[in-house]
Amino acid sequence: MSFALQRNDLAAAVLAAGVHGFFLMLLVIGVSWQIHDPQPIMAELWQAIPAQVKPLPPPEPPPPEPEPLPKAVPKPEMKAEPKAIPKAQPESKTADIALEKKKQEEKKKQEELAKQKQALELEKKKRQEIEKRRREEDRLMELEAEQEAARIEADKLKREQEKKLAEQKRREALKRDEEEMERRMMEETLALEASQSKAREAKAAADRRAAEIGKIVDRYKAMISDKVRGNARLPENLSGNPEVVYEVNVLPTGEITKIKLVKSSGNAAYDTAIEKAIEKSSPLPMPTDREAAAHFRELELKHKPKN
């Protein structure tokens, strides 16, 4: 039993390791899939253009090669004519001399003829050889010339393409520069507009704020004079509607620190009554807005018994 169990244990361990290996592999593959998005995307666009243009020129030069053969054929026919001239000469000499002489002459003639023929043939051969050589040379020359022409043309094409490419590049660079300039100008104008509108907005906001503060100040001034009026005990001998002006120093809390007479009404009892009323009104109602409250540091209080 112990042996069987041990074998089972080993098999179980191997299977467990297999399960872990399988899961680890799945994880590694699954995670590394998501890492395959590196960055070089911009450079490839530029490299692709020259590679596409260059392979185009080669197919054009090959067609002119078969031409030299037909041109070379007609030449040997023209040069074959001189053969006929020497043959005509021996026929004109026929006289009635002795047979031997004749024979000799004929022999001689034949020999001469044979010689001439041989010489002619030799000459012909030579000429043909020369002709042949010349033809070959011509053909070679022509071939070379054509190849040269093809090469020059290919060069020209290549140069043109390069020029075109350079031109294109230059134009693109120019275009890019222009676009850049345009963009910059746009940005500048935009920035300018933005700053201008910002300034305008700021000004409008400031105006609005000033108006608001003015309203608050007015309201609180009214409240202060109402309070003073409520606290005032006017003397009985008051006649008319005299105005008295006091300058009042106020703490931010509304407490009055100093009251100073600026312009008397002419009635001393009324003046003191108003002064007492102002003292009694301390603390004055102060706006919670700090900027509005700043207007109340030094306050000029004008007071009339009747509004």
Partner: protein, 226 residues
């Protein structure tokens, strides 16, 4: 940017801080052990079920009890759980029968006790390591969570010294920390499934053994009463 380039699993694990690595090691070991036990138990329970089926078929098929007893007691290492229970009960029965003057009750009680003891032993052997699976299933998520919390803690701690906090600065730390949770779950889920499955199998097996014990005692009692 260089952080996001190298987010491979191996890199993340190697980059982890020492406590997180420790947690990962524990979880890997726990996962390996639990899978090992899962396979061991799988084989053991399958074999036990097969042996029980075979023995029950033999027993109820009218085989000679003495022959079965001799075969089992000669090579106990080849016998299944139920056969060993049978062997323990039958040998006790024979011993008690040989003593003269033992009453039916004494014989039957002794036999039953012997069978119960053998049964307990067998069930205990079959149940071994199941507790480990239960422990792994319930604890390893917490261990993984601990590793994750620790890793995230460190990631945010390193963020404190940086003026401008970006996601790229914490992301690798958090990813690395989350691996610990993943490992914890990876260890726990199979362990829980296997634990539940094996307890159920074991329950069925033990109830089969118990009913066999009852039926076998009935047979023996009939023989004594004859």
């Amino acid at each position: 940017m260089e952080v996001s380039q190298n987010m491979s699993l191996l890199h993340l694990v190697l980059q982890a801080s020492i406590p997180v690595k420790f947690v990962m090691g524990i979880l890997l070991a726990a996962s390996f052990m639990s899978w090992w036990y899962i396979f061991i138990k799988l084989f053991a329970l399958k074999r036990a079920a097969k042996d029980t089926n075979r023995f029950e078929a033999e027993f109820w098929g009218g085989a000679d009890l003495n022959a079965v007893y001799h075969r089992v007691s000669d090579q106990p290492e080849k016998a299944g759980e139920l056969e060993r229970v049978f062997e323990a009960g039958f040998s006790e029965f024979l011993k008690l029968r040989r003593q003269s003057g033992a009453s039916v009750n004494v014989i039957m009680d002794g036999t039953r006790r012997a069978m119960r003891a053998a049964y307990q032993r067998e069930v205990d052997t079959l149940e071994s390591h199941l507790a480990f699976l239960a422990t792994v299933g319930s604890v390893s998520p917490y261990v993984g969570l601990f590793g994750t919390v620790w890793g995230i803690m460190l990631a945010f701690q390193s963020l404190a010294s940086v003026a401008q906090a970006t996601l790229a600065q914490v992301a690798p730390g958090i990813a690395e920390a989350l691996i610990a949770t993943a490992m914890g779950l990876f260890a726990a889920i199979p362990a829980v499934v296997a634990y539940n499955r094996y307890t159920h199998d074991l329950d069925r097996l033990s109830s089969r053994m118990e009913s066999f014990m009852e039926e076998f005692s009935n047979i023996l009692q009939r023989q004594v009463a004859k």
